[in-house]
């Protein structure tokens, strides 16, 4: 596995608490959770994150749409775990390794209970969705400058899911539009 | 079944147990007997020969009771075995059948 290009330190701090660092989430300033999969770095709004699972046991779902990695048992509930790249429409040649981490997102009712729910929290739906990633990175306290998403020329890319690109000294980070990311892409139903 | 007419009381002595196996025949016989003795003012069902009575037997006795009621004649049961008597007591039929109250054990 590549060494993270982000400063180390906070990466697995989240794993300790299941509530996705609630003390941080309560502040109004936007915080971004970074994570890496197939060698690329991404970030999403921490507000949407419910918890992070360490090496989750994935139950494969045969004949499911490719964007579904499998199911995960989470304390009596079943999480649909997505494949990040497939959901975004990247056709990476790199096969994803074993599921190291799973970021589990909040459901709409959970988001709605927040003091400042995101405007598109409806998109989170009622069933629990997670995404399988290789590594969790730092939490960014601010966005900094945001570049527009890559042009449409990348075929198959679901642009609605990508809010932009963060040019960081360490490298480019793709900023995920979490609400759109969690919704079912049109035409994915088998 | 043996039929005796004592004064105006019709005494029906059942030949044996009154069970689902024989009530159908008894029904017809009882109707005929009642019809043959229009002058009777009382009917007594004598169970002296009966050891057991099942639900159909109870039904028959109740039907006989109702029939007597319809004909406006008296009805009573006599000489039940202790077992049958106990059954009538438990079902609260003894009084209806004109049996004297016994002290319950």
């Amino acid at each position: 596995m590549d060494a993270p290009r982000l400063p180390a330190g906070t990466s697995d701090a989240l794993l300790a608490s299941r509530g996705a660092a609630p003390s941080l989430a309560r502040t109004n300033a936007e915080q971004l959770l970074t994570f890496r999969t197939r060698g690329r770095w991404y970030a999403c709004d921490l507000l949407w994150v419910r918890e992070i699972l360490r090496q989750p046991a994935l139950t494969p779902v045969d004949r499911a749409p490719p964007l579904v990695r499998g199911l995960i048992h989470l304390r009596g509930q079943i999480v649909t775990a997505l494949d990040l790249d497939r959901r975004l429409g990247f056709h990476s040649a790199v096969a994803q390794g074993p599921a190291e981490r799973c970021i589990v997102f909040k459901t709409s009712p959970e988001l709605a209970r927040l003091a400042h729910p995101p405007s598109d929290c409806e998109l989170a739906g009622n069933d629990i969705i997670g995404v399988v990633v290789d590594q969790i990175g730092d939490i960014l306290a601010e966005r900094g400058p945001v570049l527009p998403p890559p042009p449409d020329t990348i075929s198959g890319l679901d642009h609605a899911c990508i809010a932009g690109v963060l040019p960081r000294p360490e490298g480019l980070i793709t900023l995920i539009n979490t609400g759109a990311f969690l919704s079912v892409p049109s035409g994915s139903a088998s | 079944m043996q039929t005796l007419l004592e004064a105006s009381t019709l005494r029906l002595v059942f030949a044996g147990d009154i069970l689902s196996t024989n009530v159908a025949a008894l029904r017809t016989e009882l109707l005929a007997t009642l019809g043959a003795h229009p002058a009777a003012t009382h009917v007594t069902a004598d169970l002296v020969n009966a050891r057991t009575v099942d639900s159909q037997g109870i039904n028959l006795l109740l039907a006989l009771y109702r029939e007597s009621e319809r004909r406006k004649i008296g009805f009573r049961v006599e000489n039940p075995s202790p077992e049958i008597r106990r059954l009538f007591d438990l079902l609260n039929l003894s009084g209806r059948f004109g049996l004297k109250p016994t002290k319950q054990p």
Binding site: V61, H73, Q77 | R27, L31, R66, N92
Partner: protein
Amino acid sequence: MSTAEQEMLELFVQEAREHLGVLESDLVSLEANPRDAALLNRLFRAVHSVKGTAGFFGLTAITELAHVMESVMALVRDGRLEAGPELINLFLAGTDKLKAMVASPENSADIPSLAEREALGAMLRSDPPARPAAAEKDILPLYLRSFRIDPELVRSALRNGHHVYVVQLRLHADIEAKGQGILDYLREVQSLGTLIDTATDIAEVGGLDAEAPADVVCSLLFATAMEPDLLLGAFDLPAAQLVQAAAPALREWLATQPVLGPATPPPPPSPPAVVAPASPAAPAAPAALSPPEDGTTGTAHPMASASRTKPDETVRISVSLLDALMNLAGEMVLGRNQLLRVAESRREGAGAPPEHEGLGGIIQGISAVTSDLQRTIMRARLQPVGGLLGRFHRVLRDLGQKLGKEIQLETVGDDVELDRALIEGLSDPLTHLVRNAADHGLEPREERLRVGKPPAGRVRISAAHLAGRVQIEVRDDGRGLDPVRLKAKAVEKGLITADQAERLGEAEAWQLIFAPGFSTAAVVSDVSGRGVGMDVVKTNIERLGGRVEIESVVGRGTAIIIRLPLTLAIIPALIVGCGDRLFAVPQLNLIEIVRIGPDRPLEDFGGSRLLRLREELLPVLDLSALLGLPATEDQAGSGYVLILRLDRRRFGLRVDQVADTEEIVVKPLGRHLQGTTLYSGATLLGQGRIALILDLAGLAAGRLPPEPASTRETTRASLRPPAEQVLLFRDGTPETFALHIANIGRIERLSSSRIERIGGQDFLRQENGPTLRLVRLQTHLPVTPPGPLPAEIHVIVPRLVDQPIALVAEEILDAAELPVDALDTSTLIAPGVLGTASIEGALTIILDLYGLLRAAGLDRPAIPGGVDLASRRILLAEDTLFFREAVRRAFTGFVGALDVANDGEEAWQRLQTGAYDVLVTDLEMPRLNGFELVARLRSDPRFKTLPVIALSARDTPEFHERARIAGVNRFESKFDRERLRRALIDALSAPTP
């Protein structure tokens, strides 16, 4: 208003709503059972509660209306007023007003209710002032009044915290039928508590001349410490036969009874030994005590389903709280699993300290409790659907009155438990469907009478768990959906063009009712034409993840079928394994499990697999192939085949492993998986593993040989063109042969050395069964002459023939579908050949087995009969092309004329115009099946005596019996010429029954 007050008011609103809901459904039931004491008490109590709490909040308008209703109800309860339809109408109107008031208590004073109060008040005044004193006397609940109650026994029972029950006992059905003696049973009863009194219902016992003597029914008044459930078990009685007397009502009554010293006097004297010539109206039951009455009443607690809806037995709890509990229980399961693992590793590591002895047992205990806890909380979110279905009694009653139609509602599956959210979501769509059925579906009374239907229209709402889904049906016996009319309407409304209409099949035409802006009623009534259409119903159901289907027969009725995924349910399932995956198969669909091995292999016909099971060939799907899992070696020769039932079809599913049967909790799949057709949900197994629940319908869809149209009794039209299933094989020549699958009994693979040649004929000896005469196709058909037999051959043993024969097939190719319109009967004409067709690119000879037997000289010699068939006209109704052809050819030459109808409906039409001597009919056909056709004929004076021969490949006793009942004269399952000829002769010469 303070927050606390506001909360209390909200509580009142919730509670009052439930009371009013009970009131509404009970009022409708009361119409059918105007003297049901328990019902009357519940009604009375519901109004009373509303009145009481409304009074507490000073909601005078509600109190006043409830008060009048309560007073009138008291009259009904005391038998002084008849609960006729008019009165029920008044009560319902009052209930509606109360509902409106309760909906906004702040404005309740503004809702006018004078009319309702006046009307009900008039009922009060019309009450004859008879027995005014008596009315004040009896405070004993009605259902206790037939007993003579010793107050001391009741007093001591209550003092000891015992319950008082009324137990209904049918002496025969509940005791003798279970092999017990009445006396023994009653003695046992006495050992469980105190028998306070017994009342035998002699009114139910007919007189001596009663035709079928009724069972004797006794009511026991019984005091015991046992809880209802235990008591029911001990008495072995259904729940409906046990009613618990409410302690407060008994205490109230006791307060009016003198307290007696320890010396209890003997019970009241028995009735006179001689029956007093009684007036017929006198109650037959022993005279009840008549304690003073003050108008209050006790509560009956029937232990049956009604208790579930009783407001005072439930606690309201929010769904989110339940969800939180569920999650906590989920965490506990996880903890339990970790604990189990730790305990396991300790044991393996040995050297556990002695103080840890017995830990295993404790953990096992906790483990069991944890599972139970999870399950119980799950149950709390489920509600019986009966509450929802029950509502429609009122809806249909009102509708019936408004539309001037008599409507009977039947609900089935009230006990089916569904997630509360699902029940709420179903409410509106179902209401619409029920209204539609009553308004558009059912004909007016006169029209029904004219077409020979019972005057009362029937609507049936049923709920059931099927194959891991919920199925809800609204079915009426009305006029049905007429595709022609629907299409015309749709064209007129501009929804489709005339061209499109032309191309629409029946089922597609039905779907038009779901088009936005479509209404079939010539007159838009205020009943169902309220702006919401069927399109909204469909959208709503789809939003719940469900599907809507339609079945309809013109003149017979319509059924709308809703299939929903189970969002939350517990179903028994079989856990099976495939590779390293685990799956759950709903037990409901499972018939049996067959282990496959060398002695019972799957037979492979060019890609399709078949399992031979008791003379039947079942198609077998392979789960790992369906899932796209890598094939393991020799999959056909190992593992298990689950024999599954899906609607009326049976098929096998091969899996690697069969684990346990478990009660599984169905969890819906996330939205990203909604489109998958193989699974209906997922579940968590004991060890925290996830198993997907297989959706058998989705699994089988399009993968099974098409259901022969003949096995469908419903009239669902299939969208795919009709096709029939044939087996393709070769017999050493280039020609491909096809034989209809219904004609195939079994296929054996054997060494050609087993064939014995005697007198120029080939025979095959069987261990159990007659020696088979082998028929080689090349001998009888105009095909290329073959070479010598290979070492191994197949023989096809046909069914539905009399002769012990087998066809030789050197090579079995495949099972295939033959579209009926592909059959070419003109290119190759020969005895034993039905025709030719191009199947999978190859020209194939379709065999006529019966013709072949005739060609081989194997049909039976004709026995001269006394009936001249050459002058007779015969009508054949048969939907399967092959049998139609086979029978047509069998008859050719010896009957005068043979007309063919493709189904029952067509046969019926033909019978209207043509004169026929005999009807030969298949039993399973689309549109109108054979049973229905014959039943229709037999009820028509013109066809009462028409001889009917049933011809069916389904040669079961059940079918014989059904056919006989329908009025069939003869049943034939074998289509050979001589048998059919004899059948015709018999049918024509025998007098019709």
